[in-house]
């Protein structure tokens, strides 16, 4: 591997990520499955980095799942996205921070469409106005939330209480990064580092002390794919795609996977359990599974937040070994305690629980 080659590509794919004042649009599934990730993203930005992030309660789903599931037409989704832009315009924001990779892909697609076919923009303005009476300005930038963490990765590193380093050996942790397909495969210039060698997560891992694993199926889809997952009969494809990735990364003995897409995190985590049930195979060293973390969770860990506050216990693959390696003291017994100290029911079928 020639690092200078990658650096050259990264240099070619640099995008403008604003410094402050974000209009935040959330993800349907991240806030549901990894509520801590979203919460800590906002918290880190606001409290640790002192940024202004605006949330509007009137913001809705982007309908991306419906769009990719062939039930929402392109005109409709343009109008929905335009409405988000209208909310941002009304609040005086020009930079959109998008939590979901699917949404990010849709925003990119719509902006590109408007750029190449200005008549569609006009049509959308008309549609939105007729439907809601709103008008909007096209935002100056769109950033995926991982872009924003990427931008501030060194600042986070400076404030770090922990690093992606095995404290017992002093060696960097071996980290697999997984980028959601819609982050940059459709429009490489919208992603940090492009599509073939994305830098967005690599940059974070490098800044926080970890080692990147470049394994053969790195580019491969996690298997989510809306039509694959939504139709039960098709889930075998989804599962197959994830397994292909696990088998490819397995020889490297990774300590964790970091993903920037809510769907990918979800499926790479849950399918490990399903594969264990169907084939009896558990991946990871000592068959403890490979923890799949969001970059927000990792940033939170680095900054010293409580793993159970971050919501690590709500992953199917538990991260106890990983936390130990990083030197983070967290009592497993406290994983499922409610705020008042009472015990919550423990999820069944945890890997490495």
């Amino acid at each position: 591997m020639k690092p200078e080659g990658k650096k050259r590509i990264w240099a070619e794919y640099q995008k403008e990520i604003p410094d402050d004042h974000f209009f935040y649009v959330r993800s349907c599934i991240r806030q549901t499955f990894f509520a801590g990730s979203e919460q800590y993203f906002l918290k880190i930005l606001r409290d640790d980095l002192g940024k202004d992030v605006y949330e509007d309660p009137r913001h809705t789903t982007c309908t991306g799942i419906g769009y990719h599931g062939d039930v929402v037409p392109f005109e409709t989704i343009q109008a929905v996205v335009a409405r988000h832009f209208a909310l941002a315009t009304e609040a005086g924001y020009k930079h959109i921070a998008i939590s979901c990779v699917t949404s990010f892909g849709i925003y990119s697609e719509i902006l590109e469409t408007w750029k190449h076919f200005p008549e569609t923009l006009e049509r959308t303005r008309e549609d939105l106005y007729k439907a809601t009476g709103r008008t909007f300005e096209v935002p100056e930038t769109i950033s995926h939330t991982s872009d924003i963490i990427y931008k501030f990765r060194d600042e986070i590193a400076r404030k770090a209480k922990y690093n992606l380093i095995d404290i017992a050996t002093g060696k960097p942790l071996k980290v697999v990064e997984h980028i959601g397909c819609h982050y940059s495969k459709m429009f490489p210039k919208y992603g940090v580092g492009g599509a073939e060698f994305p830098h967005v997560l690599v940059g974070m891992i490098e800044s926080w002390g970890g080692d990147i694993i470049d394994y053969p199926e790195r580019r491969h889809c996690c298997g989510f794919g809306f039509r694959q997952y939504l139709v039960q009969a098709n889930r075998g494809y989804s599962l197959f795609a994830s397994r292909k990735k696990f088998e490819s990364m397995e020889p490297y003995r990774p300590d964790m996977i970091i993903a920037n897409c809510p769907g990918c995190t979800m499926f790479m985590d849950r399918w490990q359990y399903t594969i264990k049930e169907i084939e009896g195979i558990t991946y990871g060293s000592d068959e403890r599974g490979i923890p799949v973390l969001t970059y927000e969770e990792v940033a939170g860990l680095i900054l010293g937040y409580n793993p159970w506050e971050l919501g690590l216990q709500y992953h199917n693959v538990q991260s106890l070994q990983l936390l130990r390696k990083m030197g983070i003291k967290a009592d497993p017994a406290e994983r499922f305690l409610a705020k008042d100290g009472s015990r919550l029911p423990e999820p069944a079928n945890l890997i490495n629980g």
Partner: protein
């Protein structure tokens, strides 16, 4: 011809430029050959052996060298022609370095550039250790040593056709014509040097268009056991053993295929040379959608520019092999002479 011989400037000292210069000089014209490199010769200088008969490139190189040992030819190296413009009844050219040269006609022979393989990011050229170009493989032949980056001997080599050719994604829809036969030639050479090394050619179509090219292809299959897989490689990565892993559809089986390689050779295609593009820009010479120079008619005017007194020779107009380049250069001379006689 009477009086002082007429003067022709040739922009570019590759195969076409040299052949045009030699022919013009033989006919008694005064020629100035402007070459941007240290010496005339062009791409062939790096080549080890030529298709289809795998003759040593040196034979053609020495032919070309002799071709310009002529008192009528003045060679200017490390110089490019920046601009061509009309001057009186003839033409004048601006050379890099600020000088100007006048002539009765100009032959543009600025040639081609090899596709920059880094533009096919998914192949990881410049990133993975053992991804090389066909030109680099040729240099290995010159050194008589085919080895991986770590110095070990490869046991499997893949040659990827159409890198930078027939690919909208890199803005090249044209076929570079010579890469298929080059791949077959190189495959045979690898097999001869390393008999225990498996060789695979990944092709979209086998375009064996020239005489004895198809025979070479057959020879590769019959006697050298070169494997051919029809399909365009989509991407390359490395595995834990630092072996390349490629993905391709085996279109004849209708199924995806994955294979490990020790060395991946990218058969880089031909593109219009950057210097030629600049010259065209500055001088108002038209270019086609493939970015090569556009001739007035691609059947019977394929040496003619739309500018009076300016003629084209060789691969600045389209990808071609050495044989065709030499013929094209001679034809350019014929057109030039016809023009000069009519003046």
């Amino acid at each position: 011809m009477k009086g002082t011989p007429q003067h022709v400037i040739i922009a570019g000292g590759g195969v076409a430029g040299i052949e045009a210069a030699g022919t013009l000089a033989d006919l008694g014209y005064r020629v100035t050959l402007v070459e941007k490199g240290d010496e005339p010769g062009g791409h062939i200088l790096q080549w080890h052996a030529l298709f289809p008969d795998r003759r040593p490139a040196g034979e053609v190189k020495s032919y070309l060298r002799k071709r310009i040992e002529h008192r009528n030819i003045n060679i200017i190296t490390r110089t490019t022609v920046e601009k061509i413009r009309h001057h009186g009844g003839g033409v004048a050219v601006n050379l890099s370095g600020g000088t100007e040269e006048k002539a009765d006609a100009v032959i543009v022979a600025t040639g081609f550039e090899l596709f920059d393989a880094r533009r096919k990011e998914e192949y990881g050229y410049g990133i993975y250790d053992n991804v090389i170009t066909s030109a680099e493989l040729e240099e290995m032949f010159n050194r008589n040593r085919i080895v991986k980056a770590d110095g070990t001997v490869p046991s499997r080599i893949g040659l990827i056709h159409c890198v930078g050719s027939r690919d909208e994604k890199v803005n090249n829809n044209h076929c570079s014509k010579v890469c298929c036969v080059t791949a077959v030639k190189q495959a045979i050479e690898i097999r001869k040097m390393l008999p225990s090394c498996e060789v695979f050619c990944f092709y979209m179509d086998m375009r064996m268009y020239g005489p004895y090219y198809e025979e070479l292809y057959r020879e590769a299959q019959e006697f050298h056991n070169v494997n051919f897989i029809r399909g365009k490689v989509s991407e390359a990565s490395v595995n834990i053993n630092n072996r390349l892993v490629i993905k391709v559809e085996d279109t004849l089986a209708g199924r995806p295929l994955r294979m490990e390689l020790d060395i991946m050779v990218l058969m880089v295609g031909m593109e219009m040379a950057g210097s030629g593009m600049k010259l065209a820009e500055a001088s108002g010479m038209k270019r086609g959608i493939n970015r090569f120079l556009e001739t007035t008619d691609h059947h019977y005017g394929n040496n003619l520019s739309s500018i009076k007194g300016v003629f084209y020779a060789g691969t600045c107009t389209a990808p071609m092999n050495i044989t065709d380049t030499i013929s094209h250069a001679r034809a350019a001379v014929a057109e030039t002479v016809r023009y000069l006689n009519g003046k």
